[in-house]
Structure formats: C-alpha cells, structure tokens
C-alpha cells in the first residue's frame, strides 16, 4: 500500500477535524465578501415590494429548531421587513414547533431600532394562530374557511376578537403567502393545495436541501420566489437592508464548501495516481 492508497482510505475522523476547523475559524476572522442576488430571491423580494402597506400576509412556519440556522434568519428578516413596511402578518405553523419559532423570530425582530420605531402590536400588526395538526389538510380547510380551521390564536383568544383577522375568510382575503419550510408538510403542500387549488400567491423560504425540488414549481409560476438556504437568507438580508445572521454565517459556509471541494480534488488525484501506479 503506497501513500495514495492510504490517502484514499483516510480515516474519516481526519476529514471531520478539517471540517470543524473550516467552520470554526471564520467566526474569529473578519473578511467581507460580496453577495450577488439570484433571480429567485429577487422574485420574492419584488413580490413583497409590490404589496401596499396594510396588505395581509400569511407566514407559515413549517420547521423546527433543527432547521432554524437556515430558516430563522429568513424569518427574522421577513418579520422586520413586514413590520417596518406596515404589512400585517398572520402566523401559523403546520409543524408543532413552528409557532414557537415564530415567537422567537418576532422577539429578535422587535429588537431592531427601525422596528421599535413602528411599535407593532399583537392582534393589530400580527397574530399567531399557532399550530394545527393535519398537515396539508389544514391548508385545504383554510382554503374554504380560515376562522373555522383556526378558531383561536395560540393564546386561546377567539379569532373574531383580533382586529387583524376581521374580514379574513379564506385565501382570497390574504394578499400573499410566505412559507418557511424544512420538509413535509411544507412548500410542496402549499403549492399543491393553496396555489394550485385556491390560486393563492405564494413565495417560500426553504432549506438548501429542499430548494432544488422547488425549481419546477418556480419555473411553472406556482411559486413567485424562493430563498434557498443561508445564501438565500443573506441575499434577502441584503435586498431588504436588514443585515443579520445570514450574512454573518455566510463566511463559514464559504470556507466549509472550499474544504469539501479540496477533499474531493485530493480524493480524485489519489484515485487516478494510485490507479496509474497499479497499471504500471
């Protein structure tokens, strides 16, 4: 066994060590990197921008803490943006932990001085309808009747008592739906049930894993825009001018990608050289 054979069967733990270093080091470095905007993020931003103040937006938090590093920065930016622009937000979750994530996002959004200035109020500027089990069937039921599907908000207040919910009957009273999704139920179900069945205008923020699966919907116009993973989050932060964690984490991301690519190159070099040696 020569050096390259050994390199091909390198102990996993050495790779692990390099990955850890690549992720941790950038936290302690300060490098600025340029962020370019991709069309699907622009599409989402344009859809948000086209809404006049006072428009009603539904944000569905369909993820749990496991996907929070990617989706939480998007959620926070979206909340900050809506609050400063005077858009009214109706929150719900198809994942049990979704509405908790929503509250956390609002908490951090409220710390921003620009949001503080607007002083958004619960019930008037946003409501949290909480979690409802039933996956895509919840979406379907909302298509015919939102107050029947969610008779109470997460604190147990009847929805009739919430000023923001006045006049909200079904998706036709909601100007835009933004879905933050980490799997099932998520964007696919929102497309199939809200966009396809009830013609709601829909945009989404997805984990980077899920995002490629959504391109067909994006191309077919069933989705107006898409944020994919941390890069999507950082682009959205740049467009909305709310620089946050998405931008900060992006540097670690770049390093980590670089380290994986270097490993793939080393692996292939080792493979070809050791094969060449054997042929001789």
């Amino acid at each position: 066994m020569n050096f390259f054979d050994k390199l091909m069967k390198i102990d996993r733990r050495i790779i692990f060590l390099f990955v850890a270093a690549a992720v941790i080091l950038p936290f302690f470095l300060s490098i600025h990197q340029k962020i370019l905007i991709s069309p699907e993020v622009q599409g989402l931003y344009d859809a948000f921008e086209s809404l006049p103040p006072g428009s009603k937006i539904m944000i569905s938090y369909d993820y749990d803490p496991a996907s929070a590093p990617e989706l939480q920065p998007m959620a926070v930016t979206a909340m900050k943006y809506c609050f400063t622009k005077g858009l009214k937000v109706i929150i719900l979750g198809l994942w049990p932990q979704g509405s908790i994530q929503a509250n956390m996002a609002i908490e951090s959004a409220l710390e921003d001085p620009r949001v503080k200035e607007k002083n958004p109020q619960y019930g008037k500027d946003w409501v949290n309808l909480g979690y409802m089990s039933g996956n895509e069937l919840v979406i379907q039921r909302m298509g015919t009747d939102i107050p029947v599907t969610f008779p109470r908000d997460y604190q147990g207040n009847p929805v009739e008592d919430l000023p923001l919910m006045q006049g909200i009957k079904n998706f036709s009273n909601v100007d835009f739906i933004f879905n933050l999704s980490a799997g099932y139920p998520g964007t696919q179900e929102w497309v199939q049930f809200a966009a396809d069945r009830f013609h709601a205008k829909l945009g989404a923020g997805n984990t980077a894993v899920q995002a490629p699966g959504m391109y067909p919907y994006l191309r077919a116009g069933q989705l107006v825009g898409l944020l994919g993973g941390m890069k999507g989050a950082s682009e959205f932060e740049k467009l909305t001018d709310f620089e946050g964690k998405g931008t900060k984490f992006m540097l670690s991301q770049s390093f980590a990608h670089a380290i994986i690519i270097i490993f793939i190159i080393i692996g292939n070099l080792a493979y070809f050289i050791s094969r060449g040696v054997k042929k001789k």
Binding site: P163, G167, G183
Partner: protein, 396 residues
C-alpha cells in the same frame, strides 16, 4: 366589522377634505348594467355568483369608479345587505355562504336571492337594477376536474388490461434492477456472517404510499430471512407502521413455513421524532453490527446519517426512496439505490407475481402516454396552439 365600514367611509371623507374641487359637484357615476346572478358552478350548493357589465365610468374620465359593492336580498323589495366589495375593473363576485345552519353566514340551497351592484366613486355611488332571482344548488360533478378523471380512467384501463393479461399467463418481460438482484446476495451474506439484517422503513407513516410499498418488500425479505434463519430487525418510527410491520414480517415467516421462529420483539417502536429515531438506529447499528441494512421508504435528512453510520459499521446497504432530495445521499453512501419509481416497482420485482407485474406494465404505458403528450405539446406550443395546453388544466 363596524370598524372597517367606518374606515371605508372616513377615508373618502378625508380625501374630499383635501380636494379643492368639491366632489359633490361631480355627477354620480353611471351604474353597472346587465347584472346576472347564477349558481356558482362546481360547488356544494351554498354559494351564488354575480356578474355585471362594468359601469361606463370604470377606468375612464373623472367619475372614476373605485369599487363595486355587491348587495343581496331575499326579495327585490326588501332591504339589500352588503355581501362584499371588489375593486374596479372586476365584474365577477362569488358570494360564498356557509353550509352550517348555525353560522350567521348560512346560505341555504334552493332558495331565491336577488342582487344589486353599487358602483362607488369616492363617497358617491349609483346602484344597478335588481338582478334576476337565482338559487344555489350543489353539483354532482366538478367539470373543472375532467382532465384528472380522464387520467384516472386511462390509467385504470391500462392496469386492468394488463392484470387480466398477466392472469391469463402472458409472459411479461422486466429489465433487471441491480438493487433488487443484490437482495439475495445481501441476505446470504448476513447468514454466512451470523449477523442480523436491519430493515428501516423510514420516516413515513401508514398514510404514505412509499411506506406501504416498503411493507411489500419487507414481506419478501422477511420470507427470505426466515428461510435462512437470519434475524431481521425492524426499528419503527410510527406506531401504526409498527403494527403493520409486525403483521408483514409475521406473514413473511408464515409463507416461509417458519412461524415458530418469528419474534415480535424484533419489530419495535423507537420514537416518532426524526433525529431521536436516528440516534437510536445509529446506536443499534454500531452495537449490533448488522451485515446488511435496507433503507426503503420515506427518508428525509436522516438518510445520510443512517447510511454513513452503516458504512462505518461495515454493512452492505441497499436503499430506495421517492424523496428526490435524498436520493443523491443514498447514491453516494450506499451500495445500491432504487431511484423514485423503482421503489414502487421493487415489490413487483421481488414477488414476481404476474398481477403485480401487470401493473408495472401499466405504469410503462402511462409513461408512453406522457411522452406522447410531451411531444405533441412541444409541437403545439411551438406553433402557438394553446388548446392542447388547456387539456391539462385542472380547476379546483
């Protein structure tokens, strides 16, 4: 509700206040005409629709109409009640009622209603004539869903035809799938090594077709393991799935004629939370060191966590899922992968029962129809033949 009405009233007033030319001098906008009420098509019979011809002042001149208000009454003489509002330029409104009697929004079937449309310009408005009477009734067929019905019929005909042909003993060829061919070898390896086989059904519930398809494969594999007297471990993510998996494995042992060596505790529940389940299964892999791991069903982010740990444990791994995002991980980290549709075909492959192969043939015919539609569609689209595209439009 009162508040909204108040705001609707107050905004134009404020506008007027700042407008120097008094709008009272403006003539009233011309009313909309040709108001027609009719039953909303394709619903359960608790909704009416109204259309009208736009007011001549809509979108032109100084008497610009800003919105239309839709009013309804039970008879032309009664007082009309506002049912909704649409912005100018629109001429259709669906007056959706509730089907619950207790609901204040209740709209009964088979009861006549009359409509009026109000064209609003700032704070002044004009009203149309009263519409014809119309009543709501439920439909027994949703016309917008015809393309889906056609699909159901076409596919069912294919399936039934080939099932019948297969029953009559017509030989059907199927091409080899490497992942399936490897099953016997993989079970044999476990027998030689005297180690168990691990079968993971994934994160699906019994309400996922992928999981149900995986049951059939599990049944075949359980039968082979029973014949070889090899242990099969099935950690489950969902309680209902566990119940069904127990039945499935038991059936496999029965078919192999070895119900005596079936152990129910080998098909067990772990937990219904994704990563806790992974933690448990990973621990199992590192401690039991199974010779072969099967991952067939619904998989999400845990796919690679399982597959890499299995590779650390030195197992042969066969995987398959219909979650497109996870297929690459399985391809990278396991020895054989069933891609998407192949997972659904696998049960037919393993069973070799003619009827199952018949439905496989129907799937192929389905694909042929899709391909033909794509070719015709591409030609139609190139020559701007919109009609063809509309064939696939489903209204809901």
């Amino acid at each position: 509700m009162k508040k909204t009405k108040f705001i609707i009233l107050i905004i134009p007033l404020i506008l007027i206040f700042f407008n120097l030319s008094s709008p009272q001098e403006k003539p009233v906008p011309l009313p909309p005409t040709e108001v027609k009420a009719f039953d909303t098509p394709n619903d359960n019979g608790h909704s009416l629709s109204v259309t009208w011809k736009l007011s001549p002042d809509d979108g032109a001149g100084k008497n610009n109409v800003v919105a239309y208000e839709i009013l309804r009454a039970e008879s032309p003489k009664e007082e009309f009640e506002v049912r909704g509002m649409v912005p100018s330029g629109e001429n259709l409104f669906d007056d959706k009622g509730s089907r619950e009697k207790e609901d204040k929004n209740y709209l009964p079937s088979h009861k006549n209603y009359y409509y009026k449309i109000r064209a609003k310009a700032d704070n002044i408005f004009s009203e149309s004539e009263v519409s014809n009477p119309a009543f709501a009734y439920g439909q027994w067929y949703h016309t917008g869903k015809t393309p889906v019905l056609a699909g159901v019929i076409i596919f069912s005909i294919f399936a039934l035809t080939f099932i019948t042909l297969a029953r009559k003993g017509k030989k059907l060829y199927i091409r080899p799938l490497p992942g399936i061919e490897a099953v016997d070898e993989a079970v044999g390896r476990a027998t030689e090594m005297g180690k168990p086989i691990l079968y993971v059904l994934g994160l699906g519930t019994a309400a996922d077709i992928a999981t149900i398809a995986s049951f059939t494969i599990l049944n075949r594999i359980a039968k082979i393991t029973a014949e070889h007297r090899t242990t099969i471990l099935v950690p489950c993510y969902d309680s209902v799935v566990m119940a069904a998996a127990q039945e499935t494995v038991r059936a496999g042992y029965l078919e192999a004629g070895r119900p005596d060596i079936y152990k129910e505790e080998n098909v067990f529940f772990v937990t219904s939370m994704q990563f806790a389940y992974v933690a448990g299964v990973n621990g199992l892999m590192l401690r039991e060191k199974p010779a072969t791991n099967f991952y067939l069903g619904k998989f999400y982010a845990e796919s690679l966590l399982l597959a890499e740990t299995g590779s650390i444990a030195g197992s042969i791994q066969i995987s398959g899922t219909d979650e497109i995002a996870q297929i690459p991980f399985f391809i990278a980290a396991t020895d054989y992968t069933l891609i998407g549709e192949e997972l659904y075909a696998a049960s037919a492959y393993l069973g070799k029962e003619p009827v199952l192969l018949g439905t496989l043939k129907a799937q192929d015919w389905g694909k042929a129809v899709v391909i033909i539609c794509l070719i015709l569609g591409a030609l139609a689209a190139s020559f701007h033949f919109q009609f063809f595209l509309n064939l696939f439009r489903v209204q809901l």
